[in-house]
């Protein structure tokens, strides 16, 4: 367990690296007729290259605002988000977002949905290479045989796989996931979590994921960032998840540490930072 | 239906006054009777879909029951039938003696998507129900009622808002208030929080729990959230997958009320119950996948079945199975396709073998006997054990806190209990029928501590022992390695006694199969016994132990820290009490000293102890039962064919550390000597009727 404001201390395998994605005293304030509304207040976090970080917190804790600022959809009021040394100012293909509600174009096939992005990001590549990139990524998520199906013919889990493939086909430096599995049934959710871990390991990509699910966060991430409740949400605690990789769910459930961490997170979210919905 | 539940499996297992009280409450008259319900849907193509098959369930007044299962298991159909919105094809629902034939306000439903009327305000939505159902009351009374329920869910400020202006969580609170305002006899909740995010659910669950507690409502809830079910329910009904969904298992939830989330989560049984349910759901998922390719017996090499699924628990004494697999001993005996399944708990092992998912498994010593006798009021299942896989290897570990408080011996523990009679000490074992449980109880009772009345002894799977001990929800446990070594090395526990201090050389793990399986595949069974016997011999050769440690360290087997596996197995044993680590003779014994013989005397001793603690009845025909389970004939044939000694010890007296001597010919006299014991049930077990179910 690690406490607030020591973001530089990370899991051992990354300890030697330079921070990759940096949140530097990040704040977001919305002016309203009745005064300023502070959504996020002083977020400091450094994520290393190849790290898997989950952000967890109650609704309204500004998780999505945080994510929007990494993606470049919104600008921080104070501070900045830096990818390597570059301050993020606009959306770009180096940071791909996967949303909960799939956001696939319904009139395009799975293949075309991915191809669309590949074409615009790699205009200089030959047609054969672009085609190969698309097919490789469809294969990666095990959907090569439904390449020509439209989203309406795919299950929720398959759609989310296409989204992940589409995001990764653009070779982003950071993959941002906004509750990607929230709408899926528990079985499919677990399958996709496992696939995501494999993909993450093979691609060596940095992942920032927002979730509501403690078990999901513990299974996937290297660190779990727990947010306090808004307004003026900040990082309450950062939990190191030390389970060896590659991870296997059943093995993790045997580890006493799992129950310690789970209870710690439950305590944080339901006890110390319990949240009323009105 | 089988009820593999903890409090049922050993009535005295979780002895706290409150839980006993709960049990007596259960015996009260049935409030809702779900009587052998089928639900068949006609398909457009003329066929039929059997959604529910023979659902039989009794719900008591004031009880909170959850229905848990995968989507499509018919749990919502069952709820609709309870409400009267849907009718069963066969069977029926009886509420307080009257059959349910149509929906009515005495069985109010809280739907997943709230079902609030969007054109009415919060208050008007509740008023619609109250005005309709409470017609005979004057308006003033009804208004008070409406106000009271708005207040109950804390929505005074939102009373005049329409559903579209409030959050999902608030909407569901309105739905709950509307349901409770009309004082239903039965509250039915259909995934009430399913549409809310995992964290918003938390507050609502606590509120619902409080309301149900205060109003003594009888509730049936459909959910797929295991944590939610555990927090709220008295019983959790696990449904199998459709078609023909039925009640697979009923789990009793023993947490005392009023409940508080963090207390519930820290209850020593929380994660074992949770894992039990998750395990059930995973089995259902697996069954779904398996349906596509049913497993058939593959005959080869002169054996009836060479594709075997064997179950094991990641413990150091699973070594014979690992060695047989890794050193090719199964193949050498013709068993060319053996898969080792790493199981999460002993219950999973028992369930897996009983349902045929596993062909055979490494079992705790008393499991074949316990299953044959029907432990925990389950249907008896004749089991066979023809091989003892290991002896010794257990220890009793107490928490560092107790040690630091001066508890060094059993006498110290007794004194500590006497000093603080208000404080409940909880100890854990891995299964009711395991030697851990029997030895721990024997050891406690020998020190004048009643394991049911002076302390609480509970069941927790091995892997969760250390975390529960660290969390402080249990004070000690009896378990095999590497879990004692791990607690010692992490500084959270101290070994109080090893089995060498209690009964050196006791049997520990055995090979178990169903009698039906043994009769169906006799040659395969023999080959399996031979392969494992050879593996046991290999394991006891100390020259092989370094290699075995390496095998056990593999993640697919035990996967624990090498240092913890080596403890006692190869390295000196560290008790963690400050004494020098020392080598323990035969810390785990796999072969030497006729270790593998299925010993009838030991079986009888275990039956006395299981009867002593009320886990099983004591069979009047104890010898017949013991000989039916312990198949010395199969062992003998295997040993002879391998050129090994085919005999064990004759019926022999057993000496335990307290000086009492067990004479296998006089088990009842032996039981008489114990001051601390439960009421004995002595029953004739009609062995001929115990045929293949």
């Amino acid at each position: 367990m690690q406490v607030l404001n020591s973001p530089t201390q990370t899991s051992p395998s990354y300890a030697t690296q330079e921070p990759f994605l940096i949140f530097d005293n990040l704040s977001k304030v919305y002016p309203t007729p009745t005064g300023d509304f502070v959504v996020l207040d002083g977020i400091d976090l450094a994520i290393n290259e190849g790290e898997f970080v989950c952000v967890i917190g109650h609704s309204g804790c500004g998780k999505s605002t945080l994510l929007d600022m990494v993606a470049g959809f919104r600008q921080p009021t104070n501070g900045e988000v830096r990818l390597q040394t570059q301050a993020i100012q606009a959306p770009g293909p180096d940071r791909m977002v996967v949303f909960q509600n799939y956001s696939l174009l319904p009139w395009l096939t799975a293949y075309e949905n991915i191809y669309l992005g590949v074409k615009s990001v790699f205009p200089g590549k030959s047609e054969a290479i672009k085609k190969r990139i698309v097919m490789e990524h469809l294969e990666m998520v095990g959907l090569a045989d439904v390449a020509n199906k439209k989203p309406s013919a795919l299950s929720g889990g398959m759609k989310q796989r296409v989204c992940i493939a589409r995001a990764l086909a653009l070779r982003p430096k950071v993959l941002i996931l906004d509750e990607p599995f929230g709408a899926l049934d528990p079985i499919t959710r677990e399958e996709l979590q496992e696939e995501l871990l494999t993909i993450w390991r093979d691609h060596q990509i940095t992942v920032l994921m927002i979730t509501h699910d403690i078990d999901e966060a513990l299974f996937l991430s290297d660190r779990v960032v727990m947010m306090t409740n808004g307004p003026a949400a900040k990082i309450g605690e950062i939990m190191l998840v030390p389970f060896a990789r590659p991870r296997e769910r059943a093995r993790m459930m045997e580890d006493p540490k799992f129950y310690e961490l789970r209870n710690e997170a439950l305590d944080f979210l339901y006890h110390r930072h319990a949240h009323a919905d009105d | 239906m089988p009820t593999l539940t903890f409090s049922d499996s050993a009535p005295n297992f979780l002895t706290r006054p409150l839980e006993l009280h709960l049990h007596s409450l259960r015996t009260m008259a049935v409030f809702v009777e779900v009587d052998h319900i089928d639900r068949v849907f006609k398909l457009p193509d003329g066929g039929e879909y059997i959604a529910l098959k023979n659902i039989d369930l009794q719900i008591h007044k004031g009880e909170f029951v959850s229905l848990v299962g995968h989507s499509g298991c018919g749990k919502s159909t069952l709820l609709n039938i309870l409400s009267g919105l849907d009718l069963p094809s066969a069977g029926g629902i009886v509420l307080e003696g009257r059959q349910v034939t149509e929906p009515g306000p005495d069985r109010m439903v809280v739907f997943q998507n709230y079902s609030l009327l969007p054109w009415l305000t919060v208050r008007e939505n509740i008023a619609l129900a109250v005005n309709r159902v409470m017609k005979k009351h004057p308006q003033a009374v009804r208004d008070r009622m409406i106000d009271h329920h708005i207040e109950m869910v804390g929505l005074q400020k939102a009373a005049d808002k329409r559903p579209g202006q409030i959050s999902g969580g608030m909407k569901q609170r309105v739905a709950i208030a509307r349901a409770l305002a009309i004082r239903p006899k039965l509250l039915l909740l259909d995934e009430p929080f399913g549409a809310l995010d995992a964290l918003t659910r938390g507050g609502l669950q606590e509120q619902l729990m409080k309301i149900c507690q205060e109003n003594e409502v009888t509730c049936v809830m459909v959910t797929h959230d295991v944590d939610e079910a555990l927090l709220l329910s008295d019983r959790i009904v696990l449904m199998t997958n459709g078609p023909e969904a039925h009640v697979g298992q009923i789990v009793d939830v023993p947490f005392p009320r009023p409940r508080e989330r963090m207390e519930v989560v820290k209850h020593p049984n929380y994660y074992s119950l949770r894992n039990e349910i998750v395990y059930f759901l995973n089995q259902q998922k697996r069954a779904k996948l398996h349906k596509a390719k049913p497993v058939v017996a593959m005959a080869a090499n002169g054996l009836e079945k060479v594709n075997l699924e064997l179950g094991f628990i990641p413990l150091v004494d699973c070594a014979p199975l690992v060695v047989a697999k890794e050193k090719g001993l199964f193949e050498a005996h013709g068993l060319s396709q053996v898969t080792l399944n790493r199981e999460p708990s002993w219950n999973a092992i028992a369930d897996g073998v009983a349902t045929g998912r596993l062909d055979a498994a490494m079992m705790v010593a008393g499991m074949p006997l316990g299953m044959t006798l029907g432990y925990g009021n389950q249907r008896p299942r004749p089991m066979v054990s023809a091989l003892t896989l290991s002896r010794n290897g257990n220890a009793i570990t107490f928490s560092k806190r107790l040690f630091d408080a001066g508890v060094r011996t059993l006498g110290d523990f007794k004194a500590a209990i006497d000093r603080r009679p208000d404080q409940v000490h909880t100890l854990a074992a891995v299964h009711p029928t395991s030697m851990h449980n029997l030895l721990l109880r024997y050891w406690l009772a020998s020190g004048g501590i009643d394991p049911d009345r002076d302390v609480s002894v509970t069941v927790i799977p091995p892997a969760q022992m250390v975390s529960t001990l660290k969390a402080g929800t249990i004070d000690g446990y009896c378990v095999g390695e590497p879990w004692n070594a791990r607690a010692v090395s992490e500084g959270s526990g101290v070994v109080m006694a090893t089995d060498n201090d209690i009964w050196p050389g006791h049997l520990e793990k055995v090979l178990g199969v169903t009698e039906a399986w043994a009769e169906q595949y006799p040659k395969t069974h023999l080959a399996l016994v031979k392969a494992l016997l050879e593996a046991c011999e290999y394991c006891d050769d100390r020259r092989n132990r370094e290699e075995i440690v390496d095998l056990l360290c593999k993640p697919e087997y035990v996967g624990a820290d090498e240092a913890h596996i080596r403890q006692g197995f190869l390295d000196p044993y560290n008790r963690g009490d400050g004494s020098q680590p020392e080598h323990v003779l035969n810390y785990i014994q796999f072969f030497t000293g006729k270790a593998n013989y299925p010993d009838v005397s030991e079986a009888v001793w275990m039956m006395t102890q299981m009867a002593r603690w009320g886990i099983t009845p004591f069979p009047r025909n104890w010898l017949a039962v013991a000989e039916r389970v312990k198949r010395a004939d199969i062992f003998g044939q295997a040993a002879r064919e391998m050129g090994l000694v085919d005999t064990g010890r004759d019926r022999h007296p057993i000496h335990l550390f307290d000086g009492l001597v067990f004479d296998p010919d006089e088990p009842l006299k032996y039981l008489d000597q114990f001051a601390i014991k439960r009421d004995l049930r002595i029953e004739e077990v009609p062995m001929d009727e115990l045929t293949i179910a």
Binding site: - | M108, P118, W119, V133, I182
Partner: protein, 281 residues
């Protein structure tokens, strides 16, 4: 925005600024349509400036119809009335025909929606009849009523009724099963079910039907009046064409468009009064 030196207390400055901002925003909203109209007028002017243009320029249109524009209320008897009276007569016909259509349509829609027998019997019929163009009904109604005015009203009625019936039916059939379950569990009586659940749940669909219906009515009346003559904006246009008063036609079209828009907005406005926020479409 740079504000001049201000010595008033902060609070009032805040309000002032807010007021300035909001009125500025409102003005900003008017700029794009104003520009679009201006461009349209310029194009029109350019295209019709030539000596042999068939249509008048905007300037000429205004000059020629100035009398009509500044004095919509004149009444010289017969069909020689100001534009207000022309529109007013048409609106009266629409009001009568549309009201009839609404009453009959909603009642029929609910009936058909609640009974699956009626639905299967009548829905195909409705689907066929709704595609019949309004003017196709005119000869039949003239034959039936023998008079111009009732015939026009009947055409309005028959044009507007189909979307009202079909949408109401759809609304009844689309009542979420949950609401019906609530009614069943609470054992609501038939009348309670109708007033507490069925009708409110159907209202948004009814308003969709009414909105489509009013649009069609207005389309139909202009066309019908062209054929049956008498006072009314439709005949005014036809009369202007016969008298080659192109400018009058242009100004009448403008009136027709604005009135049509106002009718549509009126239904939306009433719907807004009746419907709670979350049921608006």
């Amino acid at each position: 925005m740079t504000a001049p030196l201000d010595i008033r207390p902060a609070r009032s400055r805040f309000n002032l600024q807010k007021f300035a901002n909001s009125s500025l925003d409102a003005l900003k909203g008017l700029v794009p349509p104003a520009v679009a109209i201006l461009i349209f007028l310029v194009i029109w002017q350019v295209l019709t400036m030539g000596p042999d243009a068939n249509l008048p320029t905007p300037v000429r249109t205004v000059q020629e119809t100035w009398e009509l524009i500044i004095n919509p209320f004149f009444n010289y008897g017969g069909t020689d009335k100001g534009l207000f009276w022309q529109v007013w007569t048409s609106l009266q016909r629409v009001a009568l025909g549309f009201t009839l259509a609404a009453v009959v349509g909603i009642a029929l829609g609910i009936l058909v929606g609640t009974s699956s027998l009626m639905y299967s019997a009548l829905d195909p019929l409705f689907q066929i009849l709704r595609t019949v163009p309004p003017l196709a009904w005119l000869p039949i109604s003239l034959a039936a009523f023998q008079q111009a005015n009732p015939s026009a009203i009947f055409v309005i009625f028959i044009t507007a009724i189909w979307p009202i019936i079909i949408n109401t039916t759809e609304g009844v059939r689309q009542i979420p099963q949950d609401y019906n379950n609530v009614a069943r569990v609470l054992q609501l009586s038939k009348s309670e079910y109708f007033f507490k659940i069925l009708f409110p749940a159907t209202v948004p669909y009814i308003f969709t039907g009414l909105r489509i219906g009013i649009g069609l009515s207005w389309l139909a009346i202009v066309a019908a009046e062209m054929l049956i003559g008498g006072v009314g904006i439709g005949f005014f246009i036809w009369d202007a064409w016969n008298s080659s008063r192109i400018s009058d036609i242009i100004i009448a079209i403008l009136y027709v468009g604005i009135v049509g828009l106002l009718l549509d907005r009126l239904i939306v406005f009433i719907g807004g009064l009746v419907l709670p926020e979350e049921q608006k479409q």
